[in-house]
Assembly symmetry: C2
Homo-oligomer: 146 residues x 2
DNA sequence: ATTAATAGTTGACTTTGTCAACTATTTTAA
DNA sequence: TTAAAATAGTTGACAAAGTCAACTATTAAT
């Protein structure tokens, strides 16, 4: 395999890092860190999520997570419910307030993405999404080897 | 434009964030932060770079940058040269030591990318890189609107 | 000549993240 | 069945990363 391929791959990574950086800016200007938004995301779309789940999927430190959860609890965004089967385990979920707060963030992100995509021609939009699907499909199989 | 497009775009963003995260892990396990590696990158590939340049291109805080540069100077990775035209300005560059250090990081990253790409068929590799070029082309024009 | 702008530094601070030790509980296996 | 190992989560102490405003020095603008 050619070095040129590696170079191209890395160039794309830098390019897309800056795209993601621009999109994340909004979150960073909100009152929440990326980790906090991600936690809300997981709880909003998931079910019966525990701290351990978040630690695994986010690769976040458990001490740090514990504190973030406590903060959110104080703000009444997250509620805890101890498992009856295994009392070490605590199920986390968003309160109504928490859901509302996340929806706000999520919608702003949607709006921001829409404002980018709306400028694209039908053709370009299709090409863009097709390319994304393609990349996802090809790289998913490789993910394990990283 | 459909909500489905927005959703797909954001799904890809999350996917690619995790790819980048995996690739960046190595840097984070090195003795340098992402910001530090990025600074070395800019100095390695650029010419006549000043702190102001880095502040603009990286959107980094100037106080923070000032300290990082000082650290690197202490390690003899970066050298400063005051501009004769505008004595407020200091040109930054990597020392021989600094270049060697960056090359090490850069090579490790290359190796890591190679280990991913080598598992792909010729066809998939071509498709992957084509898709990346496509995305880059389509989104570059939109970058301003973000 | 003043005033405004720019480049970079410094101090004080906050946020974010890490590490290891700890409690409490459950699972494993002799 | 019980001792040891594993798992879930918390806490304290700390380090790294990043932010903000005030500062010096210099240059550009009116």
């Amino acid at each position: 395999m050619e070095n040129k391929s590696i170079k191209e791959f890395r160039t794309f990574n830098r390019f897309y890092t800056s795209i993601i950086g621009l999109l994340d800016e909004h979150f960073l200007n909100s009152n929440y860190s990326l980790a906090e938004v991600r936690i809300m995301f997981e709880l909003y779309y998931g079910k019966n999520i525990t701290a351990s789940d978040l630690i695994r999927t986010m690769s976040i430190d458990k001490g740090y997570l514990s504190r973030v959860i406590r903060q959110f609890e104080k703000k009444k965004f997250i509620k805890r419910e101890r498992s009856s089967e295994d009392t070490r385990v605590i199920f986390l979920s968003l309160t109504h307030e928490g859901k509302k707060e996340f929806q706000l963030l999520d919608k702003t992100q949607d709006d921001q993405v829409r404002s980018i995509l709306k400028n694209l021609s039908e053709k370009d939009l299709t090409r863009l999404l097709t390319s994304m699907t393609e990349i996802k499909k090809i790289l998913t199989q490789q993910l394990i080897s990283i």
